[in-house]
Symmetry: D2
Subunit: 102 residues, 4 copies
């Protein structure tokens, strides 16, 4: 029973997050296109770098939001199951975090 | 019963990791002291920077190892419990990951 | 005289780099769009995260390439001039590097 | 003549920075030792991670300060000289920045 309620919450939470993630991704895409325009128009290096940093930060936010979702849904579900699946999911998410940090 | 076995495994795994983490921390401490010596002796900037990067990478490795332990023990245990505790643990670990990424 | 030759080299080098930078930016844009598609199609979190990391790394490469250009052209030119301009350019580039590192 | 004045300024600036850098390094060393103690005493993972992040940030600050010094002294001097030396110094500092960013 508790499990069903949990899953419903999970589903709703996920859809909400998805819209937010897509909005951020569209903004990041716009920023990357903005950087292209700045490079084509020979804008000042430092201003372009500021824009590149903004796009990178936007993508980092997306990554952290996706990771949150993944931890609270997939990893939690796998942890509840336990065994080999849980171990694999944990190794997988650890590798993903390591890629984000480096 | 499964829980007891899980906890035993957890305990053992934790101690193993702890020695590795402490070894890495001692190495990082040695590297930081090495950087101090290089600065005092006016060594070449770029060589000092290389050493600082090595110490930073060592600390990142420690952080990732601690995070692994935390995910597979505390977070997994909290996720199995569910409810408010699980939610709080997940928010806490997400904030810690965000601090590592930025 | 030496200055004229330097500037010619600089100019050529810059155009070359620009094409490379634009190519990388278009690839990064494509990767960000790919991430959007993956999110819309509910692809597996970890696979999306891998793609986000690829886009972030591509933007980092762009930032480093732009910084290279900036150091070898603008900063070098300002350094040759010296005085207040040189000091300001150095502070500006240091701030840009700090934004990239954090 | 201008060169002599430049070098005097450089020298003074460098010594000032050195004390600051050493102070930060000693603090970073203390933080790393603090992390070791926390690990030995089985402190809570998240609290240890916070301390590791603090030490990493301290080292990043040191790296940025050293890079600033290097850019305003060595790279500027090499840029004024021009030629092969300038090219090599710029490549060297670019590589060091890339190591910091990744």
């Amino acid at each position: 029973m508790a499990d069903t309620i949990e899953n419903e919450h999970t589903g709703h939470g996920y859809i909400e997050h998805k819209d937010q993630v897509l909005k951020r991704l569209r903004r990041a895409e716009g920023q990357v296109r903005g950087v292209q325009r700045m490079v084509e128009e020979d804008k000042y290096c430092i201003d372009i770098l500021t824009q590149v940093s903004a796009a990178t930060k936007a993508l980092e936010q997306v990554a952290l939001a996706l990771l949150d979702d993944h931890l609270s849904h997939c990893v939690t579900a796998a942890a509840a199951e336990g065994g080999q699946v849980a171990t694999e999911k944990l190794e997988e998410v650890s590798a993903a975090i390591a890629r984000l940090v480096r």
